[in-house]
């Protein structure tokens, strides 16, 4: 986050030194783009606040079941529909591993959490259109499944 502010700050200063008018134009462009997509981000916030009613206990319960493959499927689906900031998701992943959930299932969960965004649909479709959004998410779901299974193989959890 600091890195982002630093980059934006330095870029803004340099831009102002080189061309003041162009910088004003850039800020206008930034504001226009931001205000246009703002409703999309607010929609994501509302969706997430509802989706995250799924408690951590529920997630531990579904991912920690006896069947590896059922756990994998639950991990992929729960990761796809929910969304969490890193400071919540990684400690949660740590708890899952401690509770004996396999690395394969944890990988399925954290990877889809980042890659597949059912909740981010309102913003993604504004930038990529319905078709590309749906296809990208389906492809990401498959990629996440491959990564998870590979993880299971490397850790010797499957086969």
């Amino acid at each position: 986050m600091k890195f982002l502010y630093l980059t934006a700050g330095i870029a803004l200063v340099l831009s102002t030194i080189f061309d003041y008018k162009k910088t004003i134009k850039a800020l206008k462009v930034a504001w226009k783009k931001f205000s246009k997509i703002l409703p999309g981000y607010i929609k994501i916030l509302i969706i997430i606040s509802i989706v995250l009613l799924i408690s951590e206990d529920t997630i531990v319960y579904y991912l920690g079941g006896n069947s590896q493959w059922l756990g994998l499927l639950s991990g992929l689906i729960l990761g796809s529909v929910t969304m969490m900031p890193g400071f919540i998701s990684y400690p949660l992943a740590g708890i899952l591993v401690e509770k004996g959930v396999s690395y394969m299932v944890v990988a399925a969960f954290v990877t889809t959490l980042m890659m597949v965004g059912v909740a981010t649909y309102p913003v993604e479709k504004e930038y990529y259109g319905h078709k590309a959004t749906i296809i990208r998410n389906v492809a990401s779901f498959i990629i996440a499944a491959i990564i998870a299974i590979a993880m299971g193989l490397f850790y010797g959890e499957v086969l």
């Binding site: 982002l4 803004l12 997430i48 980042m114 990208r136 990629i143």
Partner: protein, 174 residues
């Protein structure tokens, strides 16, 4: 006001009223939703302003040729390198990668680069990978990254070819 905007506003008002009444009537689900809302809202408030300032500067300063040369048709295999490098250093994951990808497209980047960028923005971010390794172990992160990179490239070639083939156009944000 368009119909879509009316629906959006309606949903927002219902949500706000529900949260407000949750405070008065002590409805635990509503209070929990407010807690979730706050965490993410704060994240976005911190993240989006600097991200959009950079997008604005990118928009006025970066020449179309530069993007075409590095992310477009005049770029060969190196466009994957640049796309993945850009993604690895993008802070904020897909929240920020979505608008940036769209911006790249309108400056002349190919679909292959865009998909490589957006996909790796959720897989190979450096700050995220460091946190992950510290909690789940370096082995976990290295396997995940090692498996991810070839998948990023394969999938972006397939998706890129498909979307170029059907002459798909991304929406333009004015």
């Amino acid at each position: 006001m368009t119909n879509k905007n009316k629906i959006n506003l309606g949903v927002f008002i219902i949500f706000t009223l529900f949260i407000a009444s949750s405070f008065i009537l002590d409805i635990s689900i509503g209070l929990k939703m407010w807690g979730n809302f706050k965490i993410f809202a704060w994240d976005m408030i911190k993240l989006l302003p600097p991200a959009f300032i950079l997008i604005g500067l990118f928009n006025v300063w970066v020449k179309r040729e530069t993007i075409e040369d590095n992310f477009g048709h005049s770029s060969g295999i190196e466009k994957y390198f640049w796309s993945i490098l850009l993604a690895a250093t993008t802070v904020g994951g897909t929240f920020v990668a979505f608008p940036v990808g769209n911006e790249l497209y309108h400056k002349g980047a190919q679909y292959k680069s865009i998909f490589a960028y957006v996909t790796s923005a959720s897989l190979v971010m450096i700050p995220m990978s460091i946190i992950e390794a510290s909690i789940l172990g370096l082995k976990f992160t290295l396997i995940r990254l090692g498996v991810s990179l070839p998948l990023v490239i394969i999938s972006s070639v397939l998706l890129g070819n498909y979307f170029e083939g059907i002459e798909y156009k991304l929406p333009k944000q004015k």
